[in-house]
Symmetry: C2
Subunit: 260 residues, 2 copies
Amino acid sequence: MNEFVTARTDFATAAKGGLSPAELEAVLRQVGAERYHNRHPYHHRMTGGDLTRGEMQAWALNRYCYQAVIPRKDATILARAEDPAFRAEWRKRIEDHDGEDGWSGGIARWLHLATSLGLDAEMVKSERQALPATRFAVGAYLSFCANRSLLEAVASSLTELFSPVIIGERVPAMLAKYDYITEDTLAYFKKRPDQASRDSDFALAYVTEHADTPERQQLAIDALLFKCDVLWAMLDALQHAYAESGKNIPPGAFRPEDAR
Amino acid sequence: MNEFVTARTDFATAAKGGLSPAELEAVLRQVGAERYHNRHPYHHRMTGGDLTRGEMQAWALNRYCYQAVIPRKDATILARAEDPAFRAEWRKRIEDHDGEDGWSGGIARWLHLATSLGLDAEMVKSERQALPATRFAVGAYLSFCANRSLLEAVASSLTELFSPVIIGERVPAMLAKYDYITEDTLAYFKKRPDQASRDSDFALAYVTEHADTPERQQLAIDALLFKCDVLWAMLDALQHAYAESGKNIPPGAFRPEDAR
């Protein structure tokens, strides 16, 4: 078994004859249009104002596991990059998330989001009450970037191409539909669109330049599919555990006060 | 973030003062009694005769990913064991699953189960239509055995202590409640109780001997909790995707004919 089988037939033949850089970009954007987690029911419930406060807390708590691993994922990529110019560019991602002292970047802002929703900071940071499925998905992402080619690791970051879209859907809806959420709660998202655009521009240029055979193009497409699967599985796990009044919360995981 | 945070407060203090081997065994059996996947709703639906044929196929298809990785997981453990006698004992697990020629052991018997349910062998073996959450859980198990201590890797196998129970619940119910399931379909399960008892006796003796400090006892308990989480998450993913007429099947995953 290959624990990272990711190819899907619907995208698997796209690269058979070899694609131009523009055509490859179009396929990658098609993957996002069809598979990015802004199409997931949990996201729709969030933007529709339908999440309970406990579901919002569970989302923040579980997503913290993802946020917290991002700089380690990027350090893994950095460690494998031989080109100093690539490393200098990619290094910015670690700086963005860790900040000057480890707790003044994106991770700290995500923790602020979680505590603003009423969660205890140490509980969130310990990750002990996160869903096991979240940890498995996040661990798969880290392993993927450690074990696959540099091209695939970079391509898996391309979900950032689509993150300005989801943030644009998420933030106004969260402010409008949940009275306990303020601009301050969501400070994390202020900086992300610019950072994500800078990062995904660089990553997309790298991928379209280095995916220069049909085989490598397929690997890049599959890497992005894999990453979409990671994000989708995280929302599937939240939906399963916390919708229906929390009746499917797995043993040991976070139980919000309003899970009846 | 530690992608394998597994400690749970309800078992976390058990080992504070240090446990005798018999007490440690009792805690490990308590973990199984509370957390093993024979307590999961999907298992109850299976034994209650309530799974659709598509749900039964999805179970076999996804569980194949787990079966297929077991000998690799055991080889990882073998590769890290310095004691020839330990290796000679543990090697039997690989022989059980791969058989004489790779396709005459447990994996082949599981594949037979899947094809007897009407699935195509090559589709099952490719694992492409398995749920991403299944692959992430199985990948986490493989990573755990590669990255944690030998004691933890061995302790994570101790779910086998409980497998004769679940097989004893599963097989008679499947034969009684699903007219398309025969003794031949379930040939896999014939050999498993004896193999699992032999293997878990050895593993339990190893763990109770080598978990000789409170810290190591906690690691062993946490390893078994982690493994229970893996099995539980696999059934959660099936339940989420395939119950409710398959309306939550993630993109690219198996769609049974009877998912309406």
